[in-house]
Each structure stands twice: as C-alpha cells, then as structure tokens.
C-alpha cells in the first residue's frame, strides 16, 4: 500500500542499534534490521547493518533533509522509500526480528513482524 510519507522531509537521523528517520511532521521510522540503500539508477548499492554501520554510515547520512518522494509497504512487510536525491531505501522482513517500526504523530503505528507481515494500529484519537 502507498503510505502517506510522500512529500515529507527527513528532519532528523538518529543512530543507535537502529537507523531512525524522523520527518518534519513527527513520523518516526525505526529500521532495526539490515536494509539496502541504492542510487537512483541502481548502479550503487550499500547494504546497511544498523547495528554495525561502519562505512555505510556516510550513505545513511545522505538521507538527512531529503524529501520522500514515494513510500510503499507491501503485505509481507517489505518497505520501499524513494528520496528526492535519487536514493532508494529497501527494507525486507527479518526472519527473526522486527525489521522496522513506523509511528506517526497521531499514533498510527506499523510494525514489520518477525518472519514477515505487518501489524497495524490505526491511531487517530488519543485517549
């Protein structure tokens, strides 16, 4: 499904044992499992291990202040983001762990489940 991250800018990057992208509207995407960063033509691809960034760290920094042009999440939990600078981020489900979690400012929450699939909390009203 298309996800409403389009047009949002990555306003903050956080690095711990995950790569965390925060957008200007308060959405937080936390990627905990290895993912790919590719150039717009696919000629260059970095495999990023969030728990061990090493040289891939510089490629991750390239996401900062980039506008998200498209965001897609399929039923298996595969997530794909395209950025204005041509970078593409692809995260596949992890066999053993949650590959990523996404939380919006109004409480909508999505989790890529271990082994695949997505759990979804619609958010909205916040009692």
């Amino acid at each position: 499904m298309e996800y409403s991250l389009e047009g949002q800018e990555v306003s903050r990057l956080c690095l711990d044992y995950a790569v965390v992208l925060q957008t200007v509207d308060g959405t937080e995407l936390r990627i905990e499992s290895p993912f790919r960063l590719s150039s717009h033509d696919g000629a260059q691809t970095e495999e990023v291990r969030p728990d061990c960034l090493d040289q891939a760290g510089s490629a991750v920094v390239g996401l900062l202040r980039q506008r998200i042009e498209s965001a897609f999440i399929d039923e298996s939990g595969a997530l794909s983001l395209r950025f204005a600078n041509g970078l593409r981020l692809d995260s596949e489900p992890d066999e053993h762990f949650e590959a990523w979690t996404l939380v919006t400012a109004d409480g909508e929450r999505m989790v890529c489940l271990p082994g695949g699939g997505v759990a979804h909390w619609p958010g909205g009203s916040r009692p």
Partner: protein, 275 residues
C-alpha cells in the same frame, strides 16, 4: 426496547452464501469450548467479572491471558471460529435471538441453556452495542462486554463464570491472572503502569500499552502475539527516548530487545523497569 426491535428487524438477512454453520453443531461446539475454558480458569466468578470490568480493549489475546491465563493460541481458535461464523451469515438466527433477548428485557437469564443461545456470535453480529453501555455502567459486566468483544467470548467467559471449576494457579510474573488471588488481579500485563491505556492492532497481532495521550514509542510496552519465530509471543519495552531495551535495561541490538513470552504468557521485565 421498541427502537432496538426496529433496528434488529431491519437488519440484513442471511444471503446463504458460503453456507451457514448448522445451528446445533455450532452451539454444541461453543459449549464444548466454553466448558473447556471454564475448567481451566484459575479465578473465581467474581474475579472474572472484575477482570471484564477492567479490560478496555477488544483483544482476545489479552482477554484470554487475563481471565484464563491460557496461551493465546487456544483463544485464537475460538475467536477465529466466532469471526468466521459471524461473517458468514445466519443473520436470521441472529435477529431472532436478539429479538428474544430484547423481549426478555435484556440481560442474561443465568442458565446455561439460555446463555448458549443468547451469547452466540450471531447475536453479537446483530446486537453488539445494544444495552452494553447501560449494562456496563450498572455493573452487569457480562452484558456490557457485548459492546467490546465478540459474543463467543462472552459465551466462554460467562459460562466459566457460572459453571467454572476454580483452581489455584501458580504465581508467576507477567500474567494478570496469576498475581496471587482474585482481589489483587489487574487486567494488564506486568510492567504496565496503572494509568496506561491499551491499544490493540486492528490486524490482531499485538497490543500497545502507553501513557494516555502519548503517540510515540517512548515509555511503551508492546506485547505481540505468537509468530513462527516466537511461538508464545514476545514483548518489547521502550525507554523514555523511544529506544527498545533488553532485560539489562539498556538499549541493544534486536536480538536482545525482542523478549520472548513464556508458555503461560508471562515474561521477565527489564532491569529497573518502572511499570
């Protein structure tokens, strides 16, 4: 009551597609499940009623663990059956059952046979919400829960309340039903502050416990249902910065921050976790 009757009478009727579950077999099956659950319950009928009053989220996994201290998988079986039969129809039966309910003035009559008729998923499909708020407010939690759960849940729960065999369970961490007796039972898992609210995934895969009004991960507990990798489910705890933490209380790699649940639904808490 007149308004309720009008709504029920106007409810759509069974189209018959997919085939309807034979009524007798359906009731018999439900009765079997309910009796099984009743025998497994570790709580008194009063304790179960208090549990029901405290639960705020239509999440079978949470309900199952809180009331029966049973693994989620067993609950999912009966829940799935309820959903299946409800979706597939028998609306005529639903309407007739609901009308009977209304004609009787609402509320469970208290006998097993009546419960089995009234508290079936067909009734829930049509009449969920009727009287629920009033009954809940009045302390008739069995009726009130119709508004929050599929009626098959009510079948099992109420049957357990009226026929259940009480049995002492071991005291363990993490499961609300096993915190040492009826009076101390709380309908929330271990590590969750009293003020927290719960939010179930609409896909039925887990429950988030969070501070009222909050929206991010910070300070939350998320209890997830079983997966192939975690046959009993798993829990995730987030610190005040929104980082998942492990049992040592610190952020860590995902191998340390996915905390498997025990077979009985309990789980250890991270070091210094406030809850």
């Amino acid at each position: 009551m007149a308004a309720q009757r009008a709504v029920l009478a106007a409810s759509p009727r069974c189209t018959g597609y997919f085939g309807c579950y034979p009524t007798g077999l359906f009731r018999q099956t439900l009765a079997g499940h309910a009796a099984d659950y009743a025998a497994l319950s570790v709580l008194s009928a009063d304790a179960r009623r208090r549990q029901l009053a405290l639960l705020t989220t239509p999440n079978w996994g949470q309900l199952s663990k809180a009331v029966f201290a049973q693994p989620i998988a067993a609950g999912q079986l009966i829940y799935g059956m309820a959903n299946f039969t409800t979706r597939q129809g028998q609306m005529d039966l639903a309407v007739s059952v609901a009308l009977t309910y209304v004609d009787n003035g609402g509320g469970w009559s208290g006998t097993w046979a009546a419960l089995n008729v009234y508290a079936n998923p067909m009734y829930g499909a049509v009449a969920a919400g009727f009287n629920a708020h009033d009954n809940f407010s009045a302390g008739n939690y069995g009726d009130g829960m119709v508004n929050l759960y599929t009626a098959v849940d009510i079948t099992a729960l109420t049957a357990a309340g009226t026929r259940g065999t009480l049995r002492a369970g071991p005291s363990t961490v993490g499961t609300a039903a096993n915190t040492g007796g009826a009076a101390s039972v709380a309908a929330r898992p271990a590590g969750v502050a009293d003020s927290f609210v719960s939010e179930a995934a609409n896909t039925g895969k887990g429950t988030v416990w969070r501070a009222p009004g909050s929206s991010g991960n910070a300070g939350t507990v998320r209890v997830m249902e079983p997966t192939a990798q975690y046959p009993d489910g798993y829990a995730r705890f987030y610190n005040d910065s929104g980082q998942p933490i492990g049992l040592n209380g610190n952020p860590g790699p995902n191998s340390m921050t996915h905390i498997p649940l025990n077979r009985d639904g309990t789980y250890p808490l991270p070091k210094n976790w406030g809850g």
